[in-house]
Amino acid sequence: MTVFLLGAAGVALSFSLGQAAIPPGEIADFLMLRSLADGRYHAILKMRVLRIAAAFIAGAGLAFSGVVYQSSLKNYLADPFMLGISAGAALFSALAITMKFHSSLAISAFAFTGAILSVGAVMAISYARKFSSYNLILTGIALNSFFSSFLTVVMYLSKDMQNIFFWLMGSLDVRYADQIIYTHLFVIFAACYILKYSHILDLLRINEKTVFSIGVDQDYYKIKFLVIASLMCALIVSQTGIIGFIGLIVPHAARIMVGDSHRLLLPFSFILGGTMLIYCDLISRTAADSINFPIGIITSLVGAPFFIFLLAGRRKAGERANG
């Protein structure tokens, strides 16, 4: 509940704050689709709607797929970038930039292809051997570092190093409303689909042989969930660049707050992730005059202390429970 309120407050603040502050009355008018007294604000507000929508869906989707990754891989250190999505997207977008594709749509398409190729390669390689979380993670680590080195080579040789670097840091500057709408549709649809199987995600967390004994084919579900979460994540990354930390920290924070039951954990992470990214975006736009800090930096700067604070609280609670 608190998170909902925080989210709403965040949206309101995001509307009004920025390089140009907009009075609340104007925002209300804008949201009610009333004609505006002051036409100046209209364009800015339209931009901000897109931005808030992009921040929310990116944060929500990354956090959601973070939960799915952690539970499917049975590893609490997993995040959505573990199986190569970020490395693949980064490499391919760098290639696109180097090859002078300037339209953001083209770069997005490249990034999406790269992300899907790399996560697909990781899954195929580990499936060809013995399919296990352990194999997946190891293959992911190997491919991640391979792609990262490749990326360094591309950046070193490229004349557009700064552009590439900027893309890698993540950005919520989304120009096309269509893009955001399709991303929303897909992410929300995929999230609802996975939510339907929340009890299977619960099952993946418990003893493997116990799950086997009740006749559930774990590998089938693991692959299915990972594929959907990866698509979701690849789509987001292809639009926003690499926004780190949300997919790792928010799931953990949510677990601490609402527990391991996915029926609650998944929607909660979704909303918490979206809210958090809206705030991070707000900070990135307002922290310093006339500079937009890259969003990827802010998520870490804000997320890390927030998470440490949560951990400290949990330790105290743990001591009480044990004592």
Partner: protein, 398 residues
């Protein structure tokens, strides 16, 4: 009804290894029986249970599950018949017991909440319903796992060391519930156990496995005796339960031993209806524990204390009252040297049978020669045995 399990020539080998971990097992587990699988670490118990679970596929030989070859059954078909409790507990799981138990049906809509309430109520653990598994004690978490398995309404329940990490009280609680459910619902239970006392107490039948082979299958008293266990659990002590055999009691025998050297000998004597006494033993010594477990009369000394004059005299009384004295091969130091002093009284021990371990005691002599001197004297008047088989012959001639 066909047996719950019938194995013939069941064998299993890990991928890439040359030797079978399970090497040709033949056994039958009847429906409604309560069987435990025992054996040392690495004997192949868990592998066997994994095969019975259907988790490890690709076995050789045949394993029938209610008359059908297990490998031909699908995971779903198996799931309808048998449940499983793993060795590991659900550590740190932040689900409430109720949420966890709901998962026992892979289709959660079919799990009725009342069913869970009912069984928790019946087992007197309703208070656990809304507690998180992570916050439970080991015993509580285990009970919840048992409820999970019972909610599957299985015909067969497989358990892999279900109580290894529990204290004595919780072990009892777990098994009391298991026994009750077994009796009420006629569930066939097969459990790997390390605690042989639990196995003996609760199970109608025990399968003893060593090196991937079945050493013995049968009721506890037949399987758990020094002969079978001694060869499997080297040096294990304190749990062997022996009973006098049929027939009249034979003579009194006094055994001088220590450090586990007397266990097998005493067990053998008890089985042959001798009235055995033993001493002097320090309390806590493995022979002392064995004697206590089998109610053998003994002269006890406080732990880690040298034998007192008083206890020495007591022991001598026992020796005098016995028709035979048996000296085992045990380490001798200043503290227990008095156990050999009866050699000085040999004149009064005349006509008594003395049986002594025939080995060279010099490596067991920590007294600088005093013990060896006594042993010289004893051996001169004694019949010697080199191993347990020779000893067996000697006592049969008593």
């Amino acid at each position: 009804m066909p047996p719950a399990f019938r194995a013939s020539g069941l064998a299993y080998r890990f991928e890439g290894e040359d030797e079978n971990i399970i090497a040709g097992l033949d056994f039958v587990i009847e429906p409604g029986s309560f069987v435990s699988i025992v054996g040392p670490n690495g004997a192949g118990k868990s592998t066997l249970l994994d095969i019975m679970l259907g988790y490890k596929k690709g076995y050789a030989g045949s394993l029938e599950f209610f008359g059908r070859e297990l490998s031909s059954l699908s995971a779903r078909e198996l799931a309808a018949e048998r449940a499983y409790i793993p060795q590991q507990s659900e550590d740190g799981l932040r689900l409430s017991a109720y949420e966890y138990l709901k998962l026992s049906n892979s289709d959660p809509i079919k799990t009725r909440g009342e069913e869970i309430d009912e069984i928790l109520e019946k087992l007197n653990i309703s208070y656990l319903k809304d507690r998180s598994i992570a916050s439970m004690s080991g015993g509580e978490a285990r009970l919840v796992q048992l409820v999970f398995a019972l909610l599957r309404k299985p015909r067969v329940l497989l358990l892999d060391e279900p109580v290894s990490y529990l204290d004595y009280k919780n072990q009892q609680a777990f098994f009391e519930i298991l026994k009750k459910e077994h009796a009420e619902r006629g569930i066939t239970v097969a459990a790997i156990l390390h605690d042989l006392n639990l196995a003996a107490y609760y199970c109608g039948e025990i399968i003893l496995i060593n090196d991937g082979r079945i050493l013995k299958q049968g009721p506890p008293l037949e399987v758990l005796n020094y002969r079978t266990l001694g060869s499997v659990f080297f040096g294990a002590s304190g749990f062997l339960q022996t009973r006098p055999g049929p027939g009249e009691p034979r003579g009194r025998v006094h055994v001088i031993c220590g450090g586990g050297s007397g266990e097998k000998i005493i067990a053998m004597l008890i089985e042959r209806n001798f009235i055995v006494s033993c001493g002097v033993l320090n309390a806590g010594d493995s022979d002392w524990r064995f004697c206590r477990a089998n109610s053998v009369a003994m002269v006890e000394e406080e732990p880690y204390r040298p034998i007192s004059e008083e206890n020495y005299m007591k022991n001598l009384e026992y020796i005098k009252a016995s028709s035979a004295v048996i000296v085992c091969d045990f380490p001798i130091g200043a503290g227990n040297l008095a156990n050999l002093k009866f050699a000085d009284e040999l004149s009064c021990a005349g006509g008594r049978n003395i049986i002594c371990a025939g080995r060279d005691f010099s490596e067991l002599d920590y007294t600088g020669g005093a013990a060896s001197a006594y042993l010289e004297k004893i051996k001169k008047n004694a019949r010697l045995f080199k191993n347990i088989a020779e000893f067996e012959k000697l006592i049969d001639s008593l």
